[in-house]
């Protein structure tokens, strides 16, 4: 029933390549099937003005799509002179989620900047971004510990994300672009490795969804995220 032939619960193959580029403290290429995102984590001294002097750190994120990561070329945001509402919505989501993974008071007055740049898009770029960014974040934290900048590990727990939805009347996990563009409902779920929710964002694209449909989707998300966290941990070991 799914265009890809997957079972409803089946996620796409998830691949995580660490040290994909040379300069960043954490650099991860994450692939959810044909969706490929380069996630880097930059460890920088100092914090934004509103946090100065509180002894706490900060984690923030930026997101972008290369102009030809999509079927038809998207205008370059740098050339248009502003980031779209969609871009801002996504990067706020990524930053908020990763802050929930870190004990900011153990980070000192340092900032970790996450950059998620979509090299190739086939649906689910925001969930792939969060999943990859968490690994890059861990690498950056470990870099800082190895350098002696951090004494203790500020990581509270790993987080990972997946999208689920109602496609042709049935709940499915990890939508690709053909499914995503035809789905009735789209739900992005971000969870910690401890099995709790970090963020739940569900939208009725075509038709309102029922309580039962929501429960079915959440169940599917939990299984999918558990598998994805296994991939993260395998990559880190």
């Amino acid at each position: 029933m799914r265009p890809s032939g997957r079972t409803p619960q089946q996620t796409r193959p998830v691949t995580i390549t660490r040290n994909f580029t040379a300069h960043a403290e954490g650099s991860v290429l994450v692939e959810f099937g044909d969706t490929k995102v380069l996630c880097t984590a930059s460890f920088e001294e100092g914090v934004p003005r509103f946090l100065k002097g509180q002894g706490k750190g900060w984690v923030t994120a930026e997101y972008g799509m290369l102009p030809r990561s999509t079927h038809s070329r998207m205008g370059r945001e740098a050339a248009r002179g502003k980031q779209s509402g969609r871009t801002q919505e996504i990067q706020r989501l990524i930053g908020r989620s990763l802050r929930a993974a870190v004990d900011l008071s153990l980070l000192g007055e340092n900032t970790i900047v996450i950059d998620c740049d979509v090299i190739q898009a086939d649906g689910g770029t925001r969930t792939a971004s969060i999943t990859g960014a968490c690994v890059a974040l861990v690498d950056a934290l470990n870099w800082a510990r190895a350098k002696g900048i951090l004494k203790t590990n500020p990581l509270k727990h790993m987080i990972a994300a997946v999208s689920v939805g109602i496609y042709k009347g049935e709940a499915v996990c990890d939508l690709d672009y053909p499914e995503d563009s035809a789905a009735d409902t789209d739900l992005n779920v971000i969870m910690s490795e401890t099995g709790k929710f970090i963020e739940v964002q569900g939208t009725a694209e075509e038709a309102p969804f029922s309580h039962e449909e929501l429960l079915a989707m959440l169940e599917m998300a939990k299984h999918g995220i558990r598998e994805i966290i296994d991939v993260q941990q395998a990559a880190l070991n």
Copy 2:
């Protein structure tokens, strides 16, 4: 336990004043306690370029806060030359939700522009905005029907919204600012009058939330929204 002395389920007094200003086709002042938002609906001929020639209409929204709607003055977005990520996130949510309330194919090639301007903020401005905007939308649709521009009513169902959250370990409904700024979890729920979900957005502000907490919050939201829809309908009759 709540700063306002309300019971956990209790919403703030919700007031809807129609025809608050003179020029818009729909003009509503909505109040959720001390949160006051002016919602106007403007009926305009024509549609954005990407819809031209398809015989369908469009609903879109913009959101703003008056600089001194908040405790300390916020910089005016028009003066800074751009809308914040938060503003864009909220206005995208409002527009998406209201499009779910309308059969765009019955709207003809017309656009309804919703403007939600916060006069005074005390938490829950996005859920108040959606609630008020839906009434303004109905007024604008009725205006177009009275003018003979629309033959049939494009409204599919009313929608309303409320925020729920985990505050001091307990689920509470319709958070005001003191609760919102101290909550562990914040969940915005938008539902149709038919009892289905339009949008669910939950964020772990402090601590990840469990499946049980999510269910408890959703239950509370359903009750709250039912009451708010009663206020909408009373205002329209």
Copy 3:
């Protein structure tokens, strides 16, 4: 002869509602007939860079129109990314006029930011803004004195404003929108309660105006402003 049936000298009913919103140090809704403007005065510590270290304060103003304050919807300036020339011209006028009402050396290194947001427009928004803003300013100064931040009152004198013009060949006072859009000449006059001029801005919209017409308009403005200052003072008592 006037569309509203007023006599040439007659101003519209002027209403001033203090404490219209909760958070600002001064918050006034001013109404000149159907023109309604929310004026807030925010008392902030510190001064702009060019004044630092001089022991003097500053008063500045920003102006905006809600998108649907007008007959047809105006694009939101925050979304377009810049303030129009008209907006900047008006907010410079408001700021300049109110600075003339205050002894800045008695304000200490503090800034009062005036925000004038037009809720509903029917001509004369800039003169209504100045009139309302002066009352909000007084409230903010009194707030600072009550708090002990200011020892002496920096207010030099109240100011108020009215527009006059040549409409159908005759001088008229306090033009509403139908008059304003058809007037030959438009003159905005701002005066102090001591009967002196703060600002005089006259523009030949259709035909140049004579010395005699200018004198007639100024005479009318003086009477109008005297009445408006009475309304300000009644509101403050």
Copy 4:
């Protein structure tokens, strides 16, 4: 008493050089003493969108200061990415004034764009700009008549401008920078060659001004403008 040794009524030497640059339909260097402004008038086919199809023309203006036209270097507006409020206020004034000099219905669907670029500033740049721009405008209109584009002359009357003010308690005409920066009151007056007012803009910089002071300044402006119009006409003959 005046820093320049001039009598109160005395204007600075006014010089008008036509055809200062080669490409524009009208190109004038205007000098009011040490204030030097290059004013060009460009005749362009077509009108802004809001005028299309009405058979009328348009006159508009832009104003700029070269970065080092002033004592200390001003940031280049093109580099900062926006025009200041002052710039916008001035260019709106120039455009409005010149539209009052032209019968737009005789201009056909053509636009005249006035550019006033300050080469060297010593006070009074806006009044010099208007004075020079009117001559450039006449040259551009004559160019269009010589080309056969215009059958009749759309010029209604020449206009010219001067600033007057209260300096050390006395009315003076055509303020230079040392006077301008110390004046109590500054009044810009724009008049037609028929002796009527196009625009009057008076501002109390330091102290409110009385009715008598206003009359004295207007009287002085009339004499000054009469002399300046003589210089314009000599330049055109």
Copy 5:
């Protein structure tokens, strides 16, 4: 003598990977040692306004660096709201060079948009971009010929680029970052496969360079480009 141990004439290993991403008509990852640039060519119907109706096509380019392609993180241009002067200079160079490779009159009213996004930077990003972009351009032209959109091949000749410079007093070819940042002179050379110059850009970074040094650098560039064109052609076969 060179930090990398290369001989003065020796270029870094150049690798060209076609079809690096899935959606673009041409997609090439080019590597000059540790410098890695993703170059895509998008074939789009239509031309910019200034070319409409002339039956000719257009080639244009945009360039960007991922924020963490460099040693320390660079601010994202999309977030800052404008492209730097350096970015604009480089993308103008890329577009101009590739237009010289194409007979625009054989392209029909179509546009090829080149995007060069630097994944990892180690000096020479502009010359690597041009080299990779030319291969992506060929793939896009071949795609259009296979689709029947183009009847004849608009390619006039391949082009490739290399940087040369004076490093520690001696001419060297294909500078990496340590050399580039210490060089006295930097010369970017772009040539066609026919051995002629498309663009020559030499800059004295530290000391002016002599005619003899220029000749020595040009000679070195010719050899380097010949090798690089061999790599391009191997990749295309």
Copy 6:
């Protein structure tokens, strides 16, 4: 053969007028035939942030064209809100070239800002700008020495620039607009008075150029620049 009747080697008459405006530390009007550029050099205390505390100075440049310096009016960059890529490319070139003329370590922590504003354009505005700016720079340095701000002269050598090109198959020197818009190749050469290259920028506008053509153009540039440096030195004596 040349539209102007000049011989291939012949430059246009070059004129340099110092002290063209009153306020800048260096102010030069440079004319290359009908191309006229006002170049000012502003001496300012302090350096950009990236140089603070190093005891070195900085030289930077900005470039602009007056809207009607060209045949048809160009949009004002300040009004459009950004500088074009061409403008940025040119001002970077001017700044880079002049930095090569100055020993920045002898400048102290001071900045010289060069502004080149094109009053009238007829080809070669960037080479005229550099030529005139160098004289303005010398005046500003001499001003600082006369004031005692600088003890020693930071000038390393004068620089000057000329454009050469291949026009109708033959190398020509100092292209005017008719030649420039029809040339096959355009080469901008900047040299020091010591006969060495500061910058060489050659572009194949129509056809790639050969090594022999490059040598012929460079030869012509050398002669042209020598003459232009003579004009600079005559102006300074």
